[in-house]
């Protein structure tokens, strides 16, 4: 069955089983491997992508449910929040193994869009669905705050 999904701005007509999770369409059919498989049951956040700008767990979303929607993955995420976060992640060496970090960044982009200057509690609450087994949580928090500060200076300039 052909399903049409817009991924990273490009319309893709896919011939896949409708119950195939979006994650595996992205990874195995479109070969965009930045979005990770961690649990497959919406418990870890490694597979986070944006649907119409909102974070979703792609492992638990059948591709048929996202037909006609706009999906963005880590490979194409853009805008001031994404850029500030990616720069902060490198500058503060936030990641360790890195396997969870695509998902962390995709969630963090939305956090900063909805709350440009999040508190520790805001960060902990918003990011709680993204597990990091290397336990980089302290630096994730610092990275988000660093990016928020950078964005604030850009706005006032």
């Amino acid at each position: 069955m052909a399903i049409s999904v817009t991924i990273n701005g490009e319309q893709r007509d896919l011939n896949v089983d409708p119950d195939t999770p979006l994650l595996w369409v992205i990874r195995d059919h479109l070969q965009l491997t930045g979005t990770k498989f961690g649990c497959g049951i919406a418990q870890c956040g490694a597979c986070t992508v944006h649907m119409n700008g909102t974070p979703i767990r792609s492992c638990s979303m059948p591709v048929s449910a996202v037909a006609g929607q706009q999906i963005t993955t880590i490979e194409a995420v853009s805008g001031p929040e994404a850029e500030a976060l990616q720069a902060a992640w490198e500058e503060l060496a936030v990641y360790q193994c890195g396997y969870c970090q695509s998902g962390q960044l995709m969630s963090a982009v939305n956090l900063l869009k909805s709350k440009p200057t999040p508190s520790d509690t805001d960060i902990d609450q918003f990011m709680s669905g993204n597990i990091c087994r290397c336990a980089t949580y302290v630096r994730i928090r610092a990275g988000i705050k660093h990016a928020a500060a950078q964005l604030a200076t850009e706005v006032t300039l």
């Binding site: 990874r27 930045g34 498989f37 990641y95 360790q96 290397c134």
Partner: protein
């Protein structure tokens, strides 16, 4: 998709590719310096750490350094502390400190011979003639020169990189989706394998009916292997649906195991004399004379590594032997184990080492379980397309290679000043090394047998236990439980006056 294998082009035959100074340093004419890192990058930062050592002596510019994981080649890339190609024991810097600096120094001196020349941040300068060149400019010419016979290392006071914080990381691609983990390996005709494992440790396959699975779209083969039944399909989802469609019957496990029964058995054992790991002075006499000594028992459960990236591996049969791509932590062990499955010499197993999404000890194990599982799948299947073995999170959690469960029993005596005069610790659990019932497993007692306190009477004993639950290294190994028990006990044991131990 291209993977650099780390085994650089034989540019002694073709100097136009630049200078392959040694196993670790490759200087390209385009001025990139590619360093081969012999330890697995699993999040601990070893690509940055080892690169720092080489770049320091090479006087390279940090920005021109790139890194690649070393392929399996124990002769070139062994851990100098273990004598095998293996990442573990927090030993990457310790075993490579001089080796990496010498590799960097040799590469620098190969390019630059005259004493009147200086090198700084990747620029080679001759002050008298006011000429300068980049590493890339010199790479082709240097490749035609003979190796320097001796190298001299920097005085630590001249270090510009070693010891400096905040060097940009060299395990790049982790913020834009570009970093390639095992899970991300793609080849045009690659299949994905998902395996149905026995539902209990020690259980075995009785019967499989794969007729439904074999009819599903994308499913290419179903093969029975020693560790279960594997479904091979074009994509992960098809393979997983194939596994779900298998009709399986299992033989019951050879022995029943339950956590409460195991803990009860361990606690009984802890009260009996065990294998002596350390025996200083006369603990029995001192404890026997002290009616007030405190006895404490600590229970430790099995622990799963639960690396963020569930276990996985890619393997292809080739004309030359076998080629593999994965976050390999113990190349020497895996090479030998996979070679055995195929009846090949270990050097015919080519392993390309990729980034690992965490490991915490899981990817290094005496049995090389998941590489061997994939080798058995490909051997049973008999074809030559590459196959990616993917464990689901459930597979990863249930498969084990846990940190063993333990019971610790501690007793100590204090004198009137509060000093500890006798210390007894008995540790009961499975031996990671597989030690027999007469041999102390040094990994079970590390952190206890080498107790650093000045106590005149110390007795540390261990009982090795045996069951079907697979156990292995878990980060920091013995100290995860020994240090914990020791320090809990020290806090629990009431000081009579002060504590000087």
């Amino acid at each position: 998709m291209q993977f650099s294998s780390g085994a650089h082009a034989a540019n002694k035959a073709d100097p136009s590719k630049g200078l392959e100074a040694n196993a670790f340093v490759n200087i390209h004419p385009d001025n990139r310096v590619i360093l081969t890192i012999k330890h697995l990058e699993m999040g601990q930062g070893t690509y940055t750490g080892l690169a720092t050592l080489i770049a320091e002596e090479l006087d390279a510019d940090w920005a021109q350094i790139e890194t690649v994981g070393a392929p399996a080649n124990p002769e070139k890339f062994k851990n100098l502390l273990f004598g095998a190609q293996l990442t573990g024991g927090s030993s990457a810097i310790a075993n490579s400190y001089s080796q990496m600096r010498e590799a960097g120094a040799a590469a620098e001196q190969w390019q630059v011979k005259a004493a009147s020349i200086t090198v700084k941040q990747g620029v080679i300068s001759h002050a008298a003639s006011k000429r300068s060149a980049s590493f890339g400019d010199m790479a082709i010419a240097a490749a035609k020169q003979a190796l320097p016979s001796t190298v001299s290392l920097k005085d630590p006071k001249d270090f510009v990189l070693i010891g400096k914080a905040n060097l940009a990381r060299k395990d790049t691609g982790k913020t834009n989706g570009k970093a390639i983990f095992t899970q991300d390996v793609q080849f045009p005709n690659m299949l994905t394998a998902v395996v149905a494992h026995p539902p209990a440790f020690g259980a075995s396959l009785k019967h499989v009916d794969a007729s439904k699975a074999e009819k599903l779209p994308g499913v290419k083969a179903v093969v029975t292997i020693p560790s279960g039944v594997a479904v091979l399909a074009d994509t992960f989802w098809q393979a997983k649906k194939g596994r779900d469609a298998l009709s399986l019957e299992w033989n019951s496990p050879t022995a029943d195991i339950s956590s409460p029964a195991q803990m009860a058995e361990y606690k009984k054992l802890a009260q009996t004399p065990g294998l002596q790991a350390r025996n200083d002075g006369d603990v029995a006499a001192v404890l026997g004379a002290d009616k007030n000594h405190l006895i404490a028992e600590y229970e430790f459960p099995y622990l799963a590594h639960a690396a963020m990236e569930p276990m996985n591996c890619v393997l292809q049969k080739t004309a030359a032997g076998v080629e593999m791509w994965y976050g390999c932590q113990g190349q020497s062990w895996d090479q030998a184990a996979v070679a055995k499955v195929f009846g090949l010499a270990p050097e015919r197993i080519k392993i390309n080492t990729l980034l690992a999404g965490g490991s915490f000890g899981r990817r290094a194990g005496f049995t090389s379980d998941y590489p061997v599982e994939l080798a058995n799948i490909v051997k049973a299947w008999g074809k030559s397309a590459p196959v990616k073995l993917v464990w689901t999170r459930e597979d990863d959690t249930q498969a084990g290679y846990y940190r063993p469960a333990y019971v610790h029993r501690l007793a100590a005596s204090l004198n009137s000043k509060g000093d500890i005069t006798a210390w007894q610790q008995c540790i009961v659990g499975q031996a990671i090394t597989g030690a027999d019932a007469k041999t102390v497993d040094r990994l079970s007692v590390e952190g206890a047998a080498n107790l650093p306190y000045a106590i005149p009477n110390i007795l540390v004993e261990a009982h090795n236990t045996y069951n079907a639950v697979p156990v292995s290294f878990w980060r920091s190994v013995g100290s995860t439980h020994t240090a914990y028990a020791v320090n809990l006990y020290r806090r629990a044991s009431p000081p009579r006056q002060t504590r000087s131990a």
